[in-house]
């Protein structure tokens, strides 16, 4: 339940009313008291003046005799009459003279007693004795009798006979002895009336002033404090509940006090909050957009890694499996594998330094460059040398890549590799255990522009496995900040060594997970395992074979030998082999010299035996600049020695010596095909009539 809010207006009103009333009460009480005291003194003084007057009438020397005899005389009667007159003229209740028994100060024996007839009391006769002295007068009486002076305090009381004051004086005889006390009791009738009138007036005035002051003050308070506070409160509440457009009402308050400052501040705060919220909304939207784009980027990056397994279901020679468990942030690990050509499988494992978008972008560049430059027959050292050079050109952020690339010749089992600062692979030989294959690490890619990389090679036998990974594996940490390390990796690999490559990676992964526990993963964990299952038959093509070599003149002999070897194996006669050898020389030389200009590329040379009539078909495929040699104008063969140039002779020889020459440009490839009918050494084909073509 919400606590009920109290209203400031009510609290202030009640508070002010209480204070004003309290002030009025205090003022009235004080006034009342002062008023009473003054009047009482006035009355008392009057009573004493009457007492002094009465004292002069008395003949104290006769008191003893009067009391002793109980007889009055004319002198006594005269004094009594004067006192009776004085009690009336002085508006007193009583004037009496009495002897006080100084043993108890209580017993009084009256000598004179003048009573104002208005009181309705009877006079006490001479010698009347009674113990009627008010006990509160005792001390005063004692004081009067002892010192002969007046009472120190005003004596007055409020009895049933009304408020009165009493003056007391000692009566001395001619010898100065105190013989009696003279008392004058004067009613304070005026005081009574004046006092009630005073109370009435004060009450009325206080009420009027209170109401008026309260009203004025409340109106002022309401205008200056209560209403503005209420408005500020309401506005603040409205804004808090529903922070839409700030209202202008607060600046309209125009309050000269602190409230005005508060109002302006609240108003400004509302505008600021509004602006801030709008800003925040924009920033948040932008952040979300960037986040969404980063997710898309991460997906694109992820989709750049081949992730369909088995990778090459149609290939029996090798199997490959790879996983990447990315860390929270986009990272720069990557692996790759692809067929360089029919008979070569390439694997790449790399790690870009750093994390986040820069690393991811650099990874994309690195991966693309490596794959692009890995061409059939190309030296991997050259590939990395060139990739490194290109990466250095586009590396403004000082990033670098550790990378390992290997190409497995599925025919021979030769595994050529190049290492740029990357981890060393593990190799499992057939039935043996996984062991680190020590290779020189080389320098990282994108580090130094003129770095040269060397290719190394090893031979894999059927059944051998190769495992490659990134440092996310060995540098996985547990809660005690220990690293997973190469030894644990080796142990995990060997636990799973008899399993399929997929399960081997799974075993390693489980081992890392068990080791790391709930410790956070800082780096991508990337692994790849390749198994060389069986050799590819050398002559994989039905009735044919192919060779992929770099397009350099140095490979001329290799190509010539390959083609001739294949033709010989097909049982082609010398008459066929020599023209083809010449044609191969011409065409390969052309490609080597011109197809890739200054760049190096590769050429695929395919030798096949086809159809009826049986023909030897040699195909050259290169990815150099598009060029159709058949467009070339035939040379004039009728010129003299001096007139002859040498251009175009080669292709002319090919055209003339082959049965069919075709060219096409397709998918970025120059495909040149030469065909020559096979005249078998065994002579069978020779008997076939020519007209069968």
């Amino acid at each position: 339940m919400r606590k009920r809010k109290r209203k400031l207006a009510v609290a202030l009103t009640v508070g002010i009313a209480v204070i004003i009333l309290l002030l009025a009460a205090i003022t009235a009480t004080t006034g009342y008291r002062e008023f009473t005291a003054v009047l009482e003194r006035q009355y008392n003084d009057t009573a004493y003046e009457i007492a002094e007057t009465a004292l002069t009438y008395l003949n104290p020397d006769k008191f003893e005799e009067y009391l002793k005899t109980g007889q009055t005389d004319s002198d006594y009667e005269r004094i009594q009459a004067r006192l009776d007159a004085l009690v009336v003229s002085g508006s007193c209740n009583f004037i009496y003279v009495a002897k006080i028994d100084d043993s108890d100060y209580m017993t009084t024996t009256y000598i004179y007693d003048a009573v104002n007839p208005a009181t309705g009391f009877d006079r006490y006769e001479l010698g009347f004795r009674q113990q009627d002295m008010d006990p509160q007068y005792m001390e005063e009486l004692k004081h009067i009798l002892d010192t002969g002076g007046k009472a120190e305090k005003y004596l007055y009381s409020y009895s049933e006979s009304g408020a009165h004051t009493t003056a007391g004086l000692a009566v001395k005889d001619s010898h100065g002895n105190i013989v009696a006390v003279l008392g004058v009791e004067k009613a304070m009738t005026v005081l009574e009336n004046a006092r009630s009138a005073y109370v009435r007036h004060v009450a009325l005035i206080a009420a009027i002033v209170t109401v008026a002051a309260f009203t004025v003050y409340f109106l002022w308070l309401n205008h200056m404090l209560i209403r503005p506070v209420a408005e500020i409160t309401m506005e603040a509440k409205r804004f808090a509940d529903n922070s839409d457009k700030p209202a202008e009402i607060l600046t309209a308050l125009n309050n000269p006090y602190e409230i005005g400052v508060l109002a302006v501040s609240v108003q400004k705060m509302e505008f600021d909050i509004k602006k801030y919220i709008e800003n925040l909304t924009l920033v948040t939207a932008e952040k979300e957009r960037i986040g969404a784009e980063l997710d898309v980027a991460a997906d694109i990056q992820k989709s750049m890694l081949p992730c369909i397994f088995p990778a090459f279901p149609e290939r029996e020679e090798a199997d490959i499996y790879a996983t990447m468990k990315p860390a929270k942030e986009v990272g720069g690990d990557f692996y790759d594998f692809f067929m360089v050509d029919e008979g070569h499988l390439a694997i790449v494992m790399a790690d870009v330094s750093g994390k986040g978008v820069p690393a991811a972008l650099f990874m994309v560049i690195g991966k693309t460059l490596i794959k692009d430059h890995t061409r059939p027959g190309r030296n991997l050292g050259e590939v990395f040398t060139e990739v490194n050079k290109l990466l250095c050109e586009s590396n403004s952020e000082g990033l670098f890549i550790t990378a390992f690339e290997g190409v497995l010749d599925l025919v021979t089992g030769e595994f050529r590799y190049v290492n740029a600062g990357h981890e060393m692979p593990f190799i499992q030989r057939a039935e043996g255990s996984f062991e680190v294959y020590e290779i020189s690490p080389g320098f990282v890619l994108a580090g130094l522009e003129d770095m040269r990389y060397e290719e190394g090679s090893l031979i894999l036998q059927e059944g051998d496995k190769l495992f490659q990974y990134t440092d996310g594996v060995t540098e996985a940490t547990n809660h005690r900040n220990e690293l997973f390390g190469r030894e644990r990796l080796k142990a995990a690999l060997n636990r799973g060594r008899d399993k399929s490559i997929c399960d081997i990676l799974e075993t390693v992964k489980e081992s890392i997970d068990a080791f790391a526990g709930t410790a956070p993963q800082f780096d991508d964990i990337t692994m790849l395992c390749m198994e060389f299952k069986s050799r590819m038959p050398e002559n994989n093509h039905k009735n044919g074979a192919q060779l992929t070599v770099a397009a350099t003149v140095q490979n001329m002999e290799r190509v010539a030998d390959f083609v001739d070897g294949q033709l010989e194996a097909m049982g082609c006669a010398k008459e066929v082999r020599i023209p083809i050898a010449i044609a191969v020389d011409e065409l390969f030389a052309n490609i080597a010299f011109y197809a890739y200009r200054t760049d190096t590329g590769s050429v695929i040379i395919r030798v096949e035996r086809q159809g009826t009539p049986l023909r030897a078909v040699v195909t050259f495929i290169d990815t150099g600049i598009p060029y159709n040699p058949l467009d070339r104008k035939d040379p004039d063969t009728g010129l003299t020695v001096e007139e002859r140039g040498i251009g175009g002779l080669g292709i002319y020889i090919v055209k003339k010596s082959m049965d069919n020459v075709t060219y096409e440009y397709k998918d970025g490839q120059n495909i040149l095909k030469i065909e020559k009918r096979i005249e078998c050494e065994y002579g069978r084909q020779e008997t076939e009539p020519e007209g069968m073509d």
């Binding site: 020599i578 023209p579 020889i653």
Partner: protein
């Protein structure tokens, strides 16, 4: 095809120079002959090329032969002998049979 590359057997008698080309005269081997043609023919009046053991000649080889022929045209003469069928075919196709003196 037996012999790889090209072997050139030289026989010099005064201003007569006899070269026996053994193997194939193609892109890879033509530079060998070209060097001889460029460097050793200055005082020769008669050049004899024996192609008996030459398996084939490609256009790169023809280029060197043409170079030699042009050179010898000015200082003397050049003869080609013992041309095999495969080589003869190339000469025929290219018209070299008409510009070379073939015995």
């Amino acid at each position: 095809m037996g012999t790889r590359g090209l072997e050139i057997i030289r026989e010099k008698k005064g201003r007569r120079y006899a070269l026996r080309l053994v193997g194939r005269l193609d892109t890879s081997t033509a530079p060998q002959l070209q060097r001889i043609v460029e460097e050793e023919l200055s005082d020769i009046t008669s050049l004899e090329l024996d192609l008996e053991k030459t398996d084939y000649i490609s256009s790169a080889g023809l280029r060197v032969l043409l170079l030699a022929a042009k050179k010898m045209n000015r200082t003397g003469d050049m003869t080609v002998k013992n041309v095999k069928r495969e080589v003869q075919e190339v000469f025929t196709i290219t018209g070299f049979d008409k510009i070379l003196k073939i015995e």
